[in-house]
């Protein structure tokens, strides 16, 4: 094995690829820009929309209540909602978003409450619609407060303590570090994007170095040089791997910086102010995610190189490789789903195993046994794919496919 020849091929491919706009775009521009655009961009837009929806004073229709002036007056005095006159087609108006919600006050409400009868107040809402939900929430809060007030008055009139209605308080307390909470919430996104970019970063160089060479007629030029085909494929493979890992590294760094910058921007914009979550990835997690990604990048690089070599042209190679993204996106999405936890069986499924373990790592958990199993199995798959790529480079019917 002459590593000098592999190095010569690698250096040439690196120089050549860095002058290819498509490769540079997929290797550098996409990983740097994708995360800020998806997180900060989408986050800013959604926070702005959410904030605007919260600032709106919802129009609420009150149905009935003419015989209950006390509750009606209290409702009208509420500054958070705007009361509109009752109309029979209120359901349609909610559905057409002309009003946000409606509240039906039962007949003789004031008197019934005074008597201590059980009555039901119904709030009509457009389920799933954000602004309607805000309107309904405000009405619901009003009636909850109103009910609590009635209870307090009753206890007071009987000279009973207020805590009689609430003998104890229930409280949820987070005992996990904010970094871990943030990691649990966003941890699924990290492998999803990094793995996807790891693939797309390798895709263009893999096509360019195989089908691209066939299309441009340089494959025969290089095959008549004394470099062995094993050295040739290894040099090309190392270039594709470099692109894949570099893309993954940029994606991870971009993600880390996006979380820091994004949190500050979103906190400033959000009317709710800070969520208290630490949306950040520790350096240790970055290093370990990257380590776990390496065998996967080897697998991607070798597989893409082998598949693209079959194609006669750039276009044909693209049509072979594009569907491959589905096989990568699907397991990555599965890892984001709640309740899918890492186990020995899942540790053997390529892509899904790395997605799941990266999610754990970002959340601050290091399952060393599974990490070793995943690393070993991924290395095995990667070695298999590389062996196939080397074998295909020896086959005349693949190299000179017409």
């Amino acid at each position: 094995m002459s590593w000098r020849n592999v190095g010569v091929v690698y250096r040439k491919e690196l120089t050549d690829s860095l002058r290819d706009r498509r490769t540079v775009l997929s290797m550098i521009a996409v990983p740097i820009l994708l995360m800020p655009m998806l997180t900060i961009g989408l986050g800013v837009v959604s926070v702005l929309l959410f904030g605007r929806a919260m600032l709106e004073i919802p129009t609420v229709m009150v149905l009935g209540g003419q015989d209950s002036p006390a509750v009606l007056a209290a409702l009208h005095a509420l500054p958070e909602i705007r009361i509109v006159p009752a109309r029979p087609d209120y359901a349609q108006e909610i559905s057409e978003k002309q009003i946000r919600a409606a509240v039906e006050i039962p007949r003789d409400f004031d008197a019934a409450v005074a008597r201590g009868d059980a009555v039901t107040v119904r709030i009509d809402v457009y389920q799933g619609e954000l602004k309607s939900g805000f309107g309904a929430d405000r009405v619901q809060k009003f009636f909850t407060d109103y009910r609590d007030g009635v209870v307090r008055q009753r206890l007071q009139s009987r000279q009973l303590p207020a805590r009689l209605a609430a003998p104890f308080v229930i409280e949820q307390k987070n005992v996990v570090a904010p970094e871990k909470v943030g990691g649990e919430l966003i941890g699924g996104l990290v492998p999803y994007f990094v793995i996807l970019l790891c693939l797309t970063g390798a895709m263009y160089p893999a096509i360019d170095l195989t089908a691209g060479e066939k299309e441009r007629g340089t494959i025969e030029t290089i095959l008549c040089s004394p470099v062995s085909r094993v050295h040739l494929v290894l040099g090309k493979f190392l270039m594709v791997l470099t692109a894949s890992l570099f893309t993954a590294l940029l994606a991870i760094l971009s993600m880390g910086m996006t979380f820091v910058a994004g949190k500050k921007i979103l906190e400033r914009l959000s009317p709710l102010n800070a969520t208290g979550l630490a949306l950040s990835i520790s350096l240790k997690a970055v290093v370990w995610v990257f380590v776990m990604i390496v065998p996967l990048a080897v697998l991607f690089s070798a597989a893409l190189l082998a598949i693209a070599l079959f194609a006669k042209s750039y276009k044909e190679a693209q049509s072979y490789l594009s569907p491959l993204t589905v096989f990568v996106i699907l397991p990555a999405i599965v890892s984001i789903l709640p309740g899918v936890d890492l186990n020995a069986g899942l540790s053997l499924i390529p892509v899904l195993n790395t997605s799941l373990v990266s999610k754990e790592i970002v959340a601050g958990t290091y399952p060393w046994n599974y990490m070793a199993l995943i690393f070993a199995s991924s290395c095995l798959y990667a070695a298999g794919a590389l062996a196939v790529a080397i074998h295909l480079f020896q086959r005349e019917d693949v190299l000179f496919r017409t």
Binding site: K12, R216, G217
Partner: protein, 243 residues
């Protein structure tokens, strides 16, 4: 020196099944001589030359190039050969200098010798004006010069040309023809394939007529004229092929 003995190549094709692209070809070519393989398109010229350049492996027979066996010592064969065809394109994103340097390094040349060879070649071929220009920005003639420099950078003893002037204009073709003659004058073994009678007449010391993968006739132009009682090479070719 090239010695070809009963060389054959079979391919598997979806439409034709197994077919013989080259069938028992035998010939030899000495240093300081140009051997021309003359044949129509699909006659088996390119396959023969690709086997001798070890880009393809033979199915039957054997051959030695510069004393090395094409099956057992393919890397040594490639190290001794300069192969040029219209199919051997250049890397468009590399400069002329980078392109030649790359192949020099693949041939294992040490940096001082590589740069010495490269400077001499660029001077000789008049390439200094465009040595730092990317290959995809060069004219056809300039590209041909880069290809020539690429094949010569390791100073091979054997040159193989596969229809090197196909698709070139007159000026670019003249550069190539001149270069082939120069190779003979410097004592290199030159194997050359063409379907152009005029080129074969002008250049070749020995002509081998190949048809349907088989070497049908071989000799100097004078031998062939005498044997087939025709003066014009085209007439000789038609008689041989139709026989």
């Amino acid at each position: 020196m090239i010695e070809v003995n009963n060389l054959g190549k079979q391919f598997r094709d979806k439409q034709r099944g197994i077919f013989r692209a080259v069938d028992g070809v035998t010939f030899s070519c000495r240093p300081g001589q140009i051997y021309g393989l003359l044949g129509a398109n699909g006659a088996g010229k390119t396959t023969t030359l690709r086997m001798l350049a070890t880009i393809l492996g033979p199915t039957t027979g054997s051959a030695t190039v510069a004393g090395y066996d094409i099956v057992r010592e393919p890397q040594k064969v490639r190290a001794s050969v300069g192969f040029l065809s219209t199919a051997t394109a250049l890397y468009g994103r590399l400069t002329a200098q980078e392109m030649v340097e790359y192949f020099g390094r693949l041939h294992g040349l040490a940096e001082p010798r590589l740069h010495c060879n490269l400077d001499a070649l660029f001077q000789r071929l008049g390439m200094n004006d465009f040595r730092d220009r990317r290959c995809d920005k060069l004219s056809t003639g300039m590209k041909q010069k880069v290809s020539i420099a690429r094949t010569l950078v390791h100073d091979p003893s054997v040159m193989i040309f596969d229809e090197p002037t196909a698709g070139l204009d007159v000026l670019a073709a003249r550069t190539i023809v001149g270069f082939i003659r120069e190779c003979r004058e410097t004592g290199k073994t030159v194997l050359f394939s063409t379907h152009l009678m005029s080129e074969a007449e002008k250049l070749c010391d020995t002509i081998g007529i190949i048809h349907n993968g088989r070497l049908m006739a071989e000799g100097t132009l004078g031998d062939l004229r005498e044997r087939y009682l025709q003066n014009d090479l085209e007439d000789i070719f038609v008689r041989v092929v139709q026989a």
